[in-house]
Amino acid sequence: MSRSFTPKVVTANALLEGDAVWLTADDRWTRRLEEAELIEDEAHAQLRLLHAESQPDVVVGAYLADAKPGPNGPEPTHFRETFRTRGPSNYPHGKQTDETHV
């Protein structure tokens, strides 16, 4: 175990729609960060990232983003990642509206 590894999620953009997606523990790509796998171990994070990168026909630009545990699942720690879970602030577009349609 690393000394002070910040927990991570694997995230990317969907190939066709281009929107943010997160990798779940059961190998799905979800559009809701709360469903993502929160990775607490650095070596495991690298493996999961490799797994994401091996799916170029599904996602683009996979990377590890910092996250923290929350009551409903992982939560973002940086505002950039918060925006990715929602959408732009000038219009109710993107995920913030999709949620109301669920």
Binding site: N13, L15, L16, E17, G18, D19, A20, P56, D57, V60, G61, T77, H78, F79, R80, F83, R84, G87, P88, S89, N90, Y91, H93, G94, K95
Partner: protein, 553 residues
């Protein structure tokens, strides 16, 4: 207006077909993202935070109403019903789906438009004065030259892999509305002994190392333009640094080698290639010039006594500029309604503007680098009708050149490179000054906001510049003062520590109030007052606590 010839048409269609095949191969997995990315960027397709983004060139900012209607159609059919006009005279669609993009490009080709060379290390969309062909102060219409440069640079075999992107701007007027001094090459049409030629400026640029361009040739005969530009770009192509992306622009090349050395090399190269230009380019230019002939201006009598009230008079004051004909005017349509996203227009608004251009504007529209739309030629008799139609479409905001006419880049609401948001900052500042009802009293004041150091929002040349940064995971905004994007170009200077997101609007308000307090009178603009007074009074207004602390000490 310029019409595609058979070559242009075939070239654009072929590129669409190629890209369609590339997208198919990307989706079926035979192209990796690493292979596909340069191909999509060559066609203006970026991947942003929430979706793809398609950047469509609007060469020298000129559009016909038919093209504007097609942009509206695309916005409705394949995007979310709006488009974003940018400082580079492009339109960006923020929500296209990858497999729709070939169809979008096809629809653009139907109206002689494309997204080629809106990205990548090539010569980008050539920009020009948005009042071109109409302005009272103009020596000559810069667009024929811009079109010649477009033809020369598009798919130029030598210049597809430059050290970095390359931007050219042209103006035909002494009042520089095209920010030529912040471009890799800036061209100003000037007159000497009754002859027209160019002042050639090189090495300007914004981004992380802002530089004002320097005059490399004060008078270049008109017919030498292409060989001279080719000489500049090829000297840069060899000399420009490819080891470090941040030092790769020509501004750094000029800075590192010195203007005199660059001039010597360019002149040497120019002497070599000049004879290979047989004059065909001048024949082509003559053909292009004919296509930019001014419209057949209408003769109408001016209705007397049409007054649509204070709103109309205020709009006349701010949104109308002098046309070269006394009976005509240039109308700027503000895409900066207080609280709205700077530069955004809905499909319905695009259609209204297209209709107005067709009905009253000789079918011409322009996009300005300040993210507004221009009707370059309208008869003064039609101004009341135009105003009423604009007002009905929520497009009659009377704020051109005022504090709420803010340039803002997409920032972290869209852009993957951003370090902070810029759009909501612009929205909040504009809303605040609308509440205060002060902006007409404040007068000309340009605020420009970028969401990161790349400076797409031109903050370095804003009278007030705002740069959004990420300070330890929190948005933080740096204020710079005294920038100027005109012929007297200057880079703004940083004043002090940055402000948090919720502190930035009050800070701007204090700054502007300090100006009102210290100016000699309403004739002295913010920029003039800043130049006269220096930073001190503005700094004191921005950081009142530190002043109190000093006073107490």
């Amino acid at each position: 207006m310029y019409k595609y010839n058979d070559f242009d048409e075939a070239f654009v269609r072929e590129r669409v077909a190629q890209f369609r095949a590339q997208v198919e191969r990307r989706i079926d997995g035979s192209l990796t993202e690493d292979e596909f990315k340069p191909l999509r960027l060559m066609n203006g397709l970026y991947l942003q935070l929430h979706a793809y983004m398609l950047r469509v060139a609007i060469p020298y900012g000129t559009l016909s109403s038919r093209q504007m209607r097609q942009l509206a159609m695309i916005a409705e059919r394949w995007d979310k019903g709006y488009g974003h006009f940018t400082t580079r005279q492009n339109i960006q669609y923020n929500w296209p789906k990858l497999n729709d993009v070939p169809d979008i490009l096809e629809a653009l080709a139907d109206v002689e438009m494309h997204a080629i060379q809106t990205s990548g290390n090539t010569i980008r969309n050539v920009t020009a004065d948005h009042f071109a062909g109409a302005a009272a102060d103009e020596i000559a219409d810069p667009r024929p030259v811009a079109e010649l440069l477009r033809q020369w640079s598009t798919d130029h075999p030598e210049f597809q892999f430059l050290p970095r992107k390359f931007k050219i701007a042209v103006t035909g007027a002494p009042n520089d509305r095209a920010v030529t001094k912040a471009h890799d090459i800036g061209l100003r049409i000037v007159e000497k002994d009754g002859e027209q030629g160019f002042e050639v400026i090189v090495g300007g640029g914004l981004g992380r190392t802002p530089m004002i361009g320097k005059v490399i040739r004060d008078f270049l005969p008109k017919e030498d333009l292409l060989p001279y530009c080719e000489a500049i770009v090829s000297v840069y192509n060899l000399l420009g640094r490819r080891d470090n992306k941040y030092k790769a622009r020509i501004k750094i090349t000029v800075h590192e080698h010195g203007l005199d050395e660059i001039r010597r090399l360019v002149e040497e190269r120019f002497a070599l290639i000049r004879p290979t230009f047989s004059g065909v380019d001048q024949d082509i230019l003559a053909g292009i010039e004919a296509q930019f002939a001014p419209p057949a201006f209408a003769e109408k009598s001016l209705a007397v006594g049409t007054d649509l009230g204070a709103g109309y008079r205020s709009w006349l004051d701010t949104n109308i500029a002098a046309h070269k004909r006394d009976d005509h005017a240039i109308v700027s349509i503000s895409l900066k309604k207080h609280g709205a996203t700077p530069g955004d227009a809905t499909a319905a608004q695009m259609r209204v503007m297209a209709d107005l251009a067709e009905r009253y504007g000789y079918d011409e529209l322009r996009i300005s680098h300040e993210q507004n739309v221009i009707l370059p030629h309208v008869h003064r008799a039609d101004l009341p009708a135009i105003y009423s139609a604009l007002r009905d479409a929520d497009l009659a905001t009377a704020n051109i050149g005022l504090v709420s006419d803010i340039i803002a880049c997409p920032g972290m609401d869209y852009c993957a490179l951003a370090t902070a948001r810029s759009i909501p900052v612009a929205q909040e500042i504009a809303t605040r000054f609308e509440e205060l009802k002060l902006e007409h009293e404040i007068g000309p004041l340009k605020i420009k906001i970028s969401g990161c150091i790349n400076a797409c929002g031109h903050h370095h040349v804003g009278h007030i510049g705002i740069l959004g940064l990420d300070r330890a995971g929190v948005e933080n905004y740096q204020i710079t003062l005294g920038g100027d994007g005109t012929e007297n170009a200057a880079i703004a200077e940083r004043v002090g520590p940055g402000f948090a997101y919720d502190e930035i609007t009050p800070a701007i308000e204090r700054l502007v109030r300090a100006y009102l307090e210290h100016r000699e009178g309403p004739e002295e603009t913010f920029l003039q007052a800043y130049r006269r007074l220096g930073q001190a009074p503005f700094k004191a207004a921005l950081y009142p606590e530190s002043k109190e602390r000093r006073d107490a000490a």
